[in-house]
Amino acid sequence: MSAVLDPHGNVHGHDDHHGAPHGWQRWVFATNHKDIGTLYLLFAFTMLIIGGVLALLIRAELFQPGLQLVNPELFNQLTTMHGLIMVFGAIMPAFVGFANWMIPLQIGAADMAFARMNNFSFWLMIPAAVILSTSFFQPGGAPAAGWTLYAPLTLQMGPSMDSGIFALHLLGASSIMGSINIIVTILNMRAPGMTLMKMPMFVWTWLITAYLLIAVMPVLAGAITMTLTDRHFGTTFFNPAGGGDPVMYQHIFWFFGHPEVYIMILPAFGIISHIIPAFARKKLFGYASMVYATSSIAILSFIVWAHHMYATGMPVTGQLFFMYATMLIAVPTGVKVFNWIATMWKGSMTFETPMLFAVGFIFVFTMGGFTGLILSLAPIDTQVQDTYYVVAHFHYVLVAGSLYAMFAGFYFWCPKWTGVMYNETRGKIHFWWTLIAFNVTFFPMHFLGLAGMPRRYADYPMQFTDFNMIASVGAFLFGFAQVYFFFFIVLPAMLGHGEKAAAKPWEAAEGLEWEVPSPAPFHTFETPPKLDATATRVIG
């Protein structure tokens, strides 16, 4: 096999030939997709922890009625920054990290197409993250208009709003560059024999996600640029005092925002579609329909945005159109869930941590799917729009969805990345701890929302106290579970502690990434490998 990996016959010798990068230069000047993938993942985890601390401050304040820890101004800053940091700093970069690591390995490419742009798109995020995280220390504090940055509230914000807009522009530019890189890599650098319909699902979902990103990130950039010119250059796009339209901001924002939520879940679908077959020891059921379902979801995502805006008041036909279109999304999403279960059906399953997280993903994500369907009905949405029901819903799909899938992906590919197996017992503790704490935190929020508790409230009527207390306790448990994950699972694996991993540590895993040794050498597939008919094995 080494002949495939390296025509010179010696992996290390080849590294030296390039002058293996050492020390800080290896990371700052990184052009290797694996190094950049690692950088992305570590960055995303750091932001997850920062965003998590903000979330815990919110939950601590909401533990009981009355203001104990923060004032209402700071509370709004916390909810806003929690949202921005988690969406743009944690979830999106983490998936780009997975893409960097896995896409070249899965399609048999030597690296990403544009190695230096890859470096640039990572390092652009650092100043953006610093600006975002330090905005609390700017005069007037961090932006406090909610992560959706609705006008005209944004026009009242202090200077940190401008730096926030700048940070979002940087993150958007980074995402667009990352997407271009991913699309070009996938379309041009697949090993001979890997046709589009033989591509691994993770690659497929990322290809579609990358197109979504290119389509909508500029729309967000437009919305926030108009906000910026409204604030400083005398335009009145969204300012009603000058004839502007605050609702237009919402249309533009959600035209970005709805595809954005699929950007954050489609790669997760891809990861799950690798893990379920591997541990069911059975091929993925309905590969082609998975591809079509993913594409349908992506296309539908462009025509449902105004279901976030039922309460703004639109004509009855508008409301009906967006309601029907939104309900339609349940169909392809259902197809995916059915396909995964059919893959498990009559398999030969084992439940190592990746599989636990994958099954946990299907189970809990589906609950978020159902609350999404319930929310799509405009009359019910009249009751629960902007309440904790919505908060519960999107945390079920973003935490139990995207984050669980990433945990699953970490456990699945960690042996390939680090060369060692994680500790199975600790993995299982992490899974059950996370699953229980998550549901303790977010399940009661459904009740709060149905009972009418609005979101983004620093203080609430006494009747909401009990469920808020439960949610706050759960949130702290959930937070500590992730600290445990880092110190007892990620760190030991990164330091190389643990059982040595085989090239293919999972009995029935399929794909080219398992054809290279663990840990994956610095350079892989430098000459295109020859593939078998299914494009899952290297044959010479």
Partner: protein, 394 residues
């Protein structure tokens, strides 16, 4: 031994749950508002709200059935098709028939769900033929209600959270057990029972949302735009809601209280309000004495300013102190009037155009007296500003 441990655990659990349910916040359920441990929507007091409640049950039952069936299959498979019980993997990975079936069947279910929802949307959106039309204006952070058409036309109310509650909130709500905590307002919106009430929403500054769950209404109030919604309450009583669109720091402190009364009570209320309004209409030619205007100023301050600037005028946090402020100390009262009429600092100090001339003159006179220690009643100086104030103080 094991049994013993179990018993101990059970009694500990029991203790914790009793403590959790009875300790600290022993508040009652609030009719027309939230209840303790409430699991579902508030009971609807309008047809629309009941319809929404029915739709929610309808969806919840269908979704639960699908959930149980789908995950029944999954957990059955997890139980039976494990390697540890020796199950060998099958090799199928495609079936066009099955895949078409599970695309088409959900599609049909979705259409069935859409039918009753469509009916409800159309009913909710029909704001025609209202008996009473009221404009609800969102301000940072209070609601203004103007009775525009129908019985009570001309009545205007400003509805603000009880300042006591706001202070309790700041003090951590220690020892507070009030059923309508953060829901109590000075002037509720009064409407007659069994009449179609159309609410027109708009806002003065940023987007707010007028929402009363038990009446089944939620409508954003958007500055520069007019939207509408409606309700027909089927029972008398108090119905509570809160602002539901993030509108700045006091977002949690601008509740909505709708008081539904019988037709007779409503007529009586309208008569009283109209008399009050007539009395309140200050005679523009009236000459105010200083004690009178100061008293009036205290009322205006307590109703509008105290939430941010505090009773002592010291402000706090981002809120500027009035005490010692250059604007207040300025020898021409005109500066303060300008700020009151137009707002300041990007509206973190909002404009107060909606106050009457007398009110503005009164509150300024109060500040001059208290903070500058001068009897400098604001009167004719006001006339030089954008809006000539018609209030004379000697």
């Amino acid at each position: 031994m094991k049994n013993n441990l179990f018993q101990k655990l059970a009694s500990a659990l029991l203790f914790v749950s009793i403590w959790a349910s009875t300790a600290a916040w022993a508040v009652n359920d609030l009719p027309g508002g939230p209840a303790n441990w409430q699991l579902n929507l508030q009971p609807g007091a309008t047809k629309i709200a009941q319809e929404q409640g029915w739709l929610h049950w309808f969806m919840l039952i269908i979704c639960t059935v699908i959930f149980v069936v789908v995950f029944g299959v999954m957990f059955y498979s997890i139980w039976k098709h494990r390697k540890s019980v020796g199950h060998k993997p099958a090799s199928f990975h495609e079936s066009v028939k099955v895949e078409i079936a599970w695309t088409v069947i959900p599609f049909i279910i979705v259409i069935l769900m859409a039918l009753p929802a469509t009916k409800a949307v159309v009913a909710q959106k029909d704001t025609s033929n209202a008996d009473l039309t009221i404009k609800a204006t969102g301000y940072q952070w209070k609601w203004g209600y103007d009775y525009i058409k129908g019985e009570g036309e001309g009545i205007a109310i400003i509805s603000t959270l009880d300042n006591e509650h706001r202070n309790m909130s700041n003090n951590g709500a220690k020892g507070v057990d009030i059923d309508d905590y953060l829901l109590k307002v000075d002037h509720p919106l009064v409407v007659p029972v069994n009449k179609k009430v159309r609410i027109i929403t708009t806002a003065n500054d940023v987007i707010h949302a007028f929402s009363v769950p038990s009446l089944g209404v939620k409508q954003d109030a958007i500055p520069g735009f007019v939207r509408d919604t409606w309700f027909r309450a089927e029972m008398v009583g108090d119905f509570h809601g809160q602002c539901q669109e993030l509108c700045g720091k006091e977002h949690a402190y601008m509740p909505i209280h709708v008081k539904v009364v019988s037709a007779e009570d409503y007529a009586a209320w309208v008569a009283v309000e109209q008399k009050k309004m007539a009395a309140k209409m200050d005679d523009p030619s009236k000459v105010w004495t200083l004690p009178d205007i100061l008293q009036r100023g205290e009322k205006v301050y307590a109703a509008n300013c105290v939430a941010c600037h505090q009773p002592n005028g010291k402000g706090g946090g981002a809120i500027k102190a009035l005490d010692g402020s250059a604007v207040v100390l300025n020898s021409e009262a005109g500066k303060e009037i300008h700020v009151l009429l137009n707002g300041q600092n990007n509206n973190s100090m909002p404009a107060w155009k909606q106050l009457s001339d007398t009110d503005i003159a009164a509150v300024i006179s109060l500040h001059q007296k208290q903070l500058v220690k001068q009897d400098r009643p604001a009167g004719s100086a006001c006339r030089s500003q954008g809006r000539p104030l018609n209030a004379t103080v000697e």
